[in-house]
């Protein structure tokens, strides 16, 4: 990925609606050509942040730079951005071609230039046969393609996507996801993409910004966020099935650290602590797919357990069992699916675990 220079720079941005603070002194730098995904649950401020970047909302404090130009108080059209919306927001009375060209005609561009841009966008998105149709005669996927085309013809540096795939069904969503990824590779534009869908975030992003309560919790590459979440919220929000969390405490015994819950002792010799830990309450997190199932005793930690519930999901199976008195899920390939009440053994390497402070939820 071309990482030369900053494309979008958000500095100390705050947004208040009356007494409610929606975004809190937020900083975010997006490199040129980078694909950044803003991910978070509803109401975390991700769409609001995108609207601020687009200039559709006036911010309370801070500055926004796009391509090194301070655009904090510029109109949306002067910011060099194109935006794609969840509801597509096509102009229903106009044909696809008019939809693409309307903004350009209002801006007074010469006819040949408009025709050239539309031809290019239509070719890239393969919507040439649709140009004379009205939006009502298009399918959801086609409409979203036209909406992307409307951003494309503006010939801008930065693309903003506001949950563009949320209104589509699952199959179309995965198709268009790939198309957006291809589009990004072809155009090499900066893209900021808002979604609450972690699969979209993981598959599309160069970097993901996980947001909660108007604050970016973690900004990192998808794999880093997945494997080394900075706090319990991020760890729980990403991953499906969700990470196992076990409440217990940290203890030091003969120079080695252990995580102890009831009569279960998990040795932490292989775990990489962020900083020197202190004994006390903690949360142990382990992803269901990082647990080995009936595969011998060659693991730093092994335990026996009884199967409680089996959830076959096609490609693999989720097995619920009890580790001590704690619920614990394990992801198993479907060929090895156990039956209910089977006695099984599990094993894992605490290297792949995540330990969190019980009080603050921060990674230990």
């Amino acid at each position: 990925m071309a990482q030369n220079g900053t494309s979008v720079s958000i500095q100390d941005l705050s947004l208040n609606f009356g007494a409610v603070s929606v975004l809190k002194t937020l900083n975010l730098d997006v490199a040129e050509g980078e694909f950044v995904v803003l991910l978070g649950p509803s109401g975390c401020g991700k769409s609001t942040l995108l609207n601020c970047v687009a200039g559709l909302l006036d911010i309370s404090e801070g500055r926004i730079f796009i391509k090194g130009k301070n655009v904090t108080w510029e109109e949306p059209k002067d910011r060099g951005i194109g935006m794609v919306f969840q509801s597509y927001a096509l102009y229903p009375q106009m044909t696809v071609e008019k939809n693409l060209s309307f903004g350009l005609r209002v801006a007074g561009l010469p006819k040949e230039e408009i025709a050239k841009r539309i031809a290019r966008a239509a070719e890239i998105l393969q919507i040439e046969p649709l140009l004379q149709r009205k939006p009502s005669a298009l399918s959801g996927g086609q409409r979203q393609r036209v909406a992307i085309g409307r951003a494309l013809v503006r010939d801008v540096d930065v693309f903003l996507f506001d949950e563009p795939l949320s209104n589509l069904d699952a199959k179309l969503r995965s198709e268009l996801r790939v198309e957006i990824k291809l589009l990004h590779r072809k155009l090499q534009n900066t893209m900021i993409y808002v979604t609450h869908d972690q699969i979209e975030a993981m598959t599309l992003a160069d970097r993901i910004a996980v947001m909660k309560g108007g604050v970016i919790q973690q900004l990192d590459a998808p794999q880093t966020i997945y494997n080394r979440p900075v706090n319990r919220f991020v760890a729980g929000f990403l991953g499906s099935p969700a990470m196992n969390f076990i409440d217990g405490r940290l203890e030091k015994d003969k120079g080695d650290w252990y995580f102890i819950v009831e009569d279960v002792r998990i040795p932490l010799a292989t775990y990489a602590f962020e900083k020197e830990p202190v004994p006390g309450p903690a949360v142990f997190g382990m992803r269901p797919e990082h647990v080995a199932f009936n595969s011998g005793t060659g693991w730093p930690f092994t335990a026996d357990a009884n199967v409680e519930v089996v959830e076959p999901m096609g490609s693999d199976t989720l097995v619920w069992l009890k580790l001590g008195k704690q619920n614990f899920t394990v992801r198993v390939t479907s060929e090895r699916t156990p039956r209910n009440a089977d006695a099984v053994s599990i094993g894992f390497d605490p290297m792949r675990a995540s330990l969190f402070d019980a009080e603050t939820g921060n990674r230990l």
Binding site: L56, E75, P76, S87, A89, F102, V106, R150, R154
Partner: protein, 298 residues
């Protein structure tokens, strides 16, 4: 598949709607039928069955009073409907700016519509009466040369009617158009802003075309109001000065009650019915063709 009579006509529903059916058939269909029938007779004070063909219609279209009425209704209709639409839309846009006390303003704007046209007309008549209203008030304040009495001048009385009509009708137009405006997806506005389309252009080229249904509803309501305008005229001018503000409905009532000429009155009423029938027939045709096209597609 042929369904049985019992399935198609649910008995309690039929019983429930019988009074309404009786009223509709009795008053509208039979009443209109007799109106048309008597318009071909020489009825005077009481209806007779002495048929005279189109003689009443010939006399009607030779009557200058009727011609003035027809002229008036066109003028009144075009003026009040177009102004109502423009004012109503502007008011709706104003109301859509997330103003404070929106409910209060909406009630204020809708209030004239809730009042009887007789009351509306009377209030406006008082305001415009030279001895009671605006002119008297200004003169009492010391501006003795102030003169504003549109209702007593044959040339200006119709304008006073138009103003009262707008005052009465723009509120309800606003309410309908506001509902239409609220139905427009907020993301359309955002998209237009990102596209750099000025607000007035967004209204004109994108939002207004999306509100076709709301405009049609408001327009039909206004048209109905115009065709049957009677009480406003009676309360404000009584059709005067002279015959300057006479309207078809006023003409019909006066012929029947004052001039005791039922035959010609019915002819005038039938003439009022004609454009309505034409519009109904036309819209029915459009609907039928659209249904047939959709049926062919399925």
């Amino acid at each position: 598949m042929q369904r049985s009579w019992r399935q198609r006509f649910h008995l309690p529903a039929v019983i429930g709607t019988i009074p309404m059916i009786l009223v509709a058939v009795g008053v509208f269909v039979i009443g209109i039928g007799f109106s048309v029938l008597w318009s071909f007779t020489s009825s005077k004070l009481f209806p007779t069955y002495d048929f005279v063909g189109l003689a009443q219609y010939r006399r009607l279209w030779a009557d200058s009073r009727w011609l003035v009425s027809v002229n008036n209704i066109w003028f009144f209709g075009l003026m009040s409907i177009s102004c109502n639409m423009v004012f109503g839309y502007l008011l709706a846009v104003f109301m859509d700016q997330r103003i404070r006390q929106e409910d209060l303003f909406r009630s204020i704007f809708l209030y004239p519509f809730a009042m009887s046209l007789i009351v509306t007309g009377l209030v406006w008549q008082w305001v415009l009466d030279p001895n009671l209203g605006l002119q008297a008030a200004m003169r009492n304040l010391g501006w003795s040369s102030f003169s504003f009495a549109p209702l007593v001048d044959a040339n200006t009385a119709i304008y006073a009617l138009v103003v009262a009509g707008i005052w009465q009708g723009s509120g309800v137009t606003m309410a309908i158009l506001l509902a239409g405006l609220r139905g427009v997806d907020e993301e359309i506005w955002k998209a237009a802003r990102v596209d750099g389309i000025p607000t007035w252009r967004t209204h004109l080229s994108i939002v207004a075309p999306m509100m076709k249904g709301a405009f049609a509803t408001a327009f039909v309501l206004q048209c109905v109001g115009v065709v049957r305008v009677y009480d406003l005229v009676i309360a404000m001018t009584g059709g005067g000065p002279g015959i300057a503000t006479s309207m078809p409905a006023v003409y019909v009532i006066q012929l029947i009650t004052v001039r005791q000429n039922v035959g010609q009155g019915m002819a005038a009423a039938t003439m009022m019915l004609l454009p309505v029938l034409v519009v109904l027939g036309f819209s029915g045709l459009v609907l039928w063709r659209r249904n047939r096209r959709q049926g062919a597609r399925v």
